[in-house]
Symmetry: C2
Subunit: 354 residues, 2 copies
Amino acid sequence: MAKVNPYEVSGNIDYEKLIKQFGVSKLSPALVKKIGTDNLLVRRGGFYAHRDLNKILKGKFAIVSGRGPSSKMHLGHLAMFKAIRDIQKKHGCFVFIPFSDDEKMLVKGHDFNEVRKMAIENAKDILALGFDPKKTKIMFDLTDMNQDIYNLAIRASSKLTLSTIKATMGFKDSKNIGSFFYPAIQAAHILYPTYKYNVPTLVMVGMDQDPFVRLTRDVAEKLGLKKPGDLINIFLPGLSGSGKMSSSDERSAIYTTDSKKDVEHKLKRAFSGGKETLSDHRKYGGNPDIDASYLYLKYFFEEDDKKLKQIYQDYKSGKMLSGELKKYAISKANTFLEKHQSARKKVKLERYLI
Amino acid sequence: MAKVNPYEVSGNIDYEKLIKQFGVSKLSPALVKKIGTDNLLVRRGGFYAHRDLNKILKGKFAIVSGRGPSSKMHLGHLAMFKAIRDIQKKHGCFVFIPFSDDEKMLVKGHDFNEVRKMAIENAKDILALGFDPKKTKIMFDLTDMNQDIYNLAIRASSKLTLSTIKATMGFKDSKNIGSFFYPAIQAAHILYPTYKYNVPTLVMVGMDQDPFVRLTRDVAEKLGLKKPGDLINIFLPGLSGSGKMSSSDERSAIYTTDSKKDVEHKLKRAFSGGKETLSDHRKYGGNPDIDASYLYLKYFFEEDDKKLKQIYQDYKSGKMLSGELKKYAISKANTFLEKHQSARKKVKLERYLI
């Protein structure tokens, strides 16, 4: 059975069921168009659900998307932040990216220095994508807590009962008090742009984080602030063909720090939609919809819709072989990573600190 | 039955029992001498219990004494801060006075703007006593949260389970999550000087706040920081002769903002240890130990030990009448308040902000 909550995503995901379970709205193609960007993830089905997106797109808004620091970032993470960058470009909106190093310490029990290091490396990856420095702020909770955000967190915490948090998070009394308090900090992250600029926040997250957004909507109402909405992305498929990409499973994803050889190695061994033998493949064709290399092209690398369509048809008909598809994906991935890794070195975090 | 916990102090206090109940040490006259100040409250029994004071006095230390903002401050509050000022003078120690406006909002449900106003007024009262500006810092949690203190609070919160907090505070699940988290903030207040200067903190509080200190001692150990100790004051008697002074009961105390007429009015109506008739008083004498005016002289106004002793004897023998005692106390109180109210106007809070 699939399991989705803020601290666990596993199993095969039934998106229709999730939409019902979490009480969010399905994202319609018409609404996708209104987002108004040709970002790959946006226009190729990388988002599937939302709260109040229609309402939010009618006026000015800000985007908040936090990052729970992890040892490495994979392309799935970057794709999400690229979408944020592109929506910022289109709408000129303020983007706030808080690094919840505190949550990692509290809920996951990570060591402070370790989390700190990861947060800095993650921030470089995200900012290397090219956000507008005038409209983008980051914050590392544990070392840079902003006074407005602390103030908002305390006010949010005054509106959230322990019962509510227990019901949402499922923590036991043996858990530390910081874990129970953390949703107030996350609410403060989300409400910060609203408090500062009086615009609603669009939270861009996976469904696993939607419970926080729901709590924050209640809090906003009680504090007399505009309610945030969210835009929810699919769990991007891992290289093994099942489950989502993971920061902790080395084989499941391409990381931003991977070398050309790593990428080649990983994609060559990635799950393929091709047939077992060459003759079967030529005869029956492959299945691009479950092929990791194809999906990487679709969501990350192949900007050219015609080219992608051609690959889809050729692979499906058996004209294109798995080896050829992989080779193309490898070359695209490595071109991207080369650029990214060079941009990453030039990022000046200080420019973006809140 | 007397009740003492962080959120309630009522009934008649049995100090010996409290010492046992809270597991603190009784303050010996020898240890009082080691404090080394001739502060009235210190040398006249205003403190009665402690944790680790002997150990702390052996080296450098800091003092932390917070203030939960109240609409007014009374002389009991000031007496405590005067003792802190005098210990600072003697030992040259760093003093940190955090204003827990956040706690007032969370636990007591006060309005933010209201608490803010009270905190500022309270801070002026405290600083008017004349702390060393180079060694004294204040912080209003809700508007000036310091990044080191937030960091400490999160680390403290990772070491405190919800079960522990529930057992200590007695809150129900219907209480807001901020109330459960607040002990971590208080721990951070206490541990801040230790974190910053590597000296142990002496917390100067009433017994009602000792549970926080106990929690913080555990936290300090787990974070590898020096353990704080505390010095616990008696609940200073109210004007009515029973119960302690209160910020919310107008008749129970002399406030820092009282006019000369207020003081006269209050002390004239204050609980007296005198006899009902003049002749009985002359014959049997009064009881200074329960006389509010005498106790005000003892703890707040009469620096001269000989003079105080004379008053004690004269009142006890019946030579001094209640009216005479009251008149003397009124004049002493008004002299103090006149000076205090003038000093209060000159306080520049910005000099002390963390």
